[in-house]
Symmetry: none
Subunit: 212 residues, 4 copies
DNA sequence: GATGAATGAGAGTTCATTCAT
DNA sequence: CATGAATGAACTCTCATTCAT
C-alpha cells in the first residue's frame, strides 16, 4: 500500500500538472479565437500563448481540430450541468424554463463573437462536431419536452401540435438569435436578442384559448 | 461602318467567349463546393475542372475569395429578380407571399448542402460577405414589410407589434430552417423544413381574433 | 515607278508610325524606370502607359530584355554623336575635353537614378549588354587617346605611362562617380560628383614638371 | 547544477547543429550565386543544394532577401575584423596600408564574379543593403583617415586637400577596379587590377613637392 | 514529459510570352 | 498590324505535424 500511495500521489501531482497544461492550452486558444477565426490561428501562436513548445500541443491534442472538440465537450458538459439542476416539470411556467436555458447559453456564446463564429465554421466543416452539437441540442430538447408535456396539460401551451414539436422549435429558436447576432447585429448583446425573439414568438407556443 | 461592324462582331464573339470562360470557372467552383468547403478547394482544382490554366483564374478573379463574392452577387441578383416580380401588396395572403419567397430561396440553397455550408463559412469569415448578405436580408425584409402593412390592415396579422417587427422575424425564420438543415437534418429537403417551420410559427404572426 | 512610289509612300507612312510606336514604348519604359528597377516593371505596365496592347510590345521587342538593349543602343548612339563632334586633337586642354565628355554622360545618367541602376543591374545580368557597354567605353577611350597623345607631346600630361593608360583610367574614372552616386550620394547631382572627382584625380594625369 | 549542465550540453549540441544548418544554407546560396545572379536562384534550389526542406530555409531566413543581408553581414564583419587588426597610425607607409585593405577585400570579392555581381544587383535594388554597404565603406574610410592624417604630417601625402578627402577617394578607388573587373576584364584577377589602379592613381595622393 | 528544428506538400499569386482572332 | 485572352512554369511563403534529443 505504501508504494501505491506514493505512486498515486506522484500520479496525482502529475495528473494535476497535466490537466493544468491542457487547460492553459485551451484557454490560450479561446483567447486567440476572440480575435480571429480558428483556422486563421496557428498552433504556434496557441503554444506560444500557453507558454509551451509547439510539440507539446500535440501531446495533448492529436490534431489541431481536436482542440475544438475538446472545447466543445467542455461547453456541452457545462450546459448539461445547468440543465440537470433544472427541474422543468416542477417549474410554474415552462416558457420561463426555456427562457432561462436559452439565456444561459446565450450568456456563454455571447462572450465572444469570433469564438462563436469559429465554432460555427468548425461545425460546418466537421461531421463529428456537428454530431456532438446535435446531441447537445437533442438533450436540451428532451429536457424541454418534459416541461412542455406538463405545460400542455396545465393548458399553458397549445395542444394542436405534439409536445415534441413544441420542444423542438422552442430549442431551435436559439439558432435564429445566433444567426442574427453573428450576421447582422454584432454589437447587440446576444441575450437581448434572445429576449426579444422569445417574446415575439411566444404566441406560437402558448394556448390561444386561454384568453377567450 | 463596315469595319466597325466587323470589329464589333469580333469583339462580340470574344466577349461571349470571355463570359463563357467566367461561367465555366464559377460552375467548376460550385460543383467542387458540393463536395467540400470552399477553403479546402484549391484554385488549381477549380482551374483544372474548368479546363483553364491556373493563371486564367486570376484573370477573372483577382483573388480566390472574389470568386465567392461574384457567386453571391449572382445569387443575390437572382433573388432580387424574383422579389421584383412579386407584388406583395396585391396578393391575397401575405403569409403566402412570404412562403413563396422562402421556398424560392430554399429551393436554391437546397440544391447543395456543402455549397450552402461553404457560403456560411465564408460569411463567418468575411465581413464584406456578411455585409452583402445583410443587404439581401434587408431587401427581403423591405419587400415583406409592404405585405405585412397591408395584411395588418386587412386584419390578417396581429397588430400588437409593428409591421417592421413582423417582417423582421418572418424573414429571419429562414435562418432557423437553414441551421436545422445544415446541422441536423442533412437528408431532408430544405423546402420541406421551411414548410413545416412556417406552419408551426404562423400563430406568432396571424391575428388571434380571427377564430373568435 | 508609279507603283513603286506609291508603295514607298505607303511604306514611309507605315515606317513612321512603326517608329513612333516603338518610341512610345521606349519612352513609357523609361518613365517607369524612373520609379522602380526594370525587373519590377511588367510588360503590361509598359504597354498600358504606351497605350498599346500587351501583345504589341512583343511585336517591337522580341523579349522584355531587348527593350533595354534598344535603349542602350540609343544612348550609345547619342554619346557617339557627341564624341564625333568633338575634336580632341585640336582642343587646347585635353583634360577639358575629358571633363566635357564625362559631364555630358553624367547629365544624361544623372536624370534618373532608378534608370541608371536598372541599366547597371541589366549589365550585371546580361553578357550582351556588358559587351555593348564595353564597346562604348572603348570607343570613348579611343577618342580620349588622341587627346592624350597630343597632350603628352605638349607636356600637359605625365609621360611615365603610355597615353593608352592615361586614356584608360581617365575614362574609367567615371565609374567611380557613378558608384558613389548610386550607392551613397543619391541626392547630389551626378555632374557635381564628376567635377569634384576629376579635380581630385587630376594630379594623377598631369605632368608634375609643369609647376617647376 | 547537474541538470543545468546536461541541459546546456543538449542545448549546445542543438545550437551547433542549428548554426551548421544555417551555414549550409548560406554556403549553398553562395555556390549557386557563382553561376547566376541571386534573383535567378530559387529558394527551392538553395534548399535542395543545402539538403534541407524548402520550409527549413524560411526557418532561418524570413525572406529570400534576408539571406543576402545575412551574407553581407558576415562579409562586413570579416572586413571589420581585418580592419581592426590594422594599426594604420603606426604603419610606415599609409599608402601601403590602403593597398593592403583593398587587396584583402579584392581577394574576397575576387573569388566569385557572379557573386559580386549578385551583390551589386542586390545593392541596386535594396535601400537597406545599400545602407549597410555604405556603412562599411564609411568605416573603411574612417580607418584610412587616421593613416592619412599621419601621412600628411609626415609629408607623405599632399596637403592641398583635407585628409578626409584623401581617405574618401582612396577608398572609393576600389569601386573603379570592381567595375572594370565586372564589366570589362572578367578574366583578370581582381587583385591585379587593384594593384595597377592604385599604382596609377598614387600621384593624386602623394606630395609632389617632397621629391623635388 | 517536453522541446523545437525539420519537414514538405501545397497555398495563392505573378507575368513574360504566345497565338487565334 | 494590333489585340488581349490564355497560358503555365515559377515564384515566395505557410503551417500542421513529426521525431530526435
Amino acid at each position: 500500500m505504501g508504494p501505491n500511495v506514493r505512486q498515486s500521489h506522484r500520479t496525482g501531482r502529475r495528473e494535476r500538472r497535466k490537466e493544468e497544461t491542457r487547460q492553459r492550452i485551451i484557454t490560450a486558444a479561446l483567447e486567440l479565437m476572440k480575435d480571429k477565426p480558428f483556422d486563421q490561428i496557428t498552433v504556434e501562436e496557441i503554444a506560444e500563448r500557453a507558454d509551451v513548445a509547439k510539440g507539446t500541443f500535440f501531446l495533448y491534442f492529436h490534431t489541431k481540430e481536436q482542440l475544438l472538440h475538446a472545447y466543445m465537450e467542455e461547453m456541452i458538459e457545462d450546459v448539461y450541468e445547468f440543465l440537470e439542476q433544472l427541474h422543468p416539470e416542477t417549474a410554474e411556467s415552462q416558457w420561463e424554463v426555456l427562457r432561462q436555458v436559452m439565456l444561459y447559453i446565450a450568456s456563454r456564446d455571447g462572450l465572444s463573437l469570433a469564438l462563436t463564429r469559429s465554432i460555427m465554421v468548425a461545425c460546418c466543416q466537421s461531421a463529428e462536431l456537428r454530431q456532438r452539437m446535435m446531441e447537445l441540442v437533442q438533450e436540451a430538447t428532451q429536457h424541454a419536452l418534459m416541461g412542455f408535456i406538463a405545460g400542455q396539460q396545465k393548458g399553458e401551451f397549445r395542444r394542436d401540435v405534439s409536445p415534441e414539436t413544441l420542444a423542438h422549435y422552442a430549442v431551435r429558436l436559439y439558432r435564429l438569435c445566433l444567426m442574427e447576432w453573428m450576421m447582422e447585429k454584432e454589437d447587440a448583446p446576444l441575450t437581448e436578442l434572445v429576449e426579444r425573439t422569445l417574446a415575439f414568438f411566444k404566441p406560437a407556443f402558448v394556448a390561444q384559448e386561454v384568453e377567450r
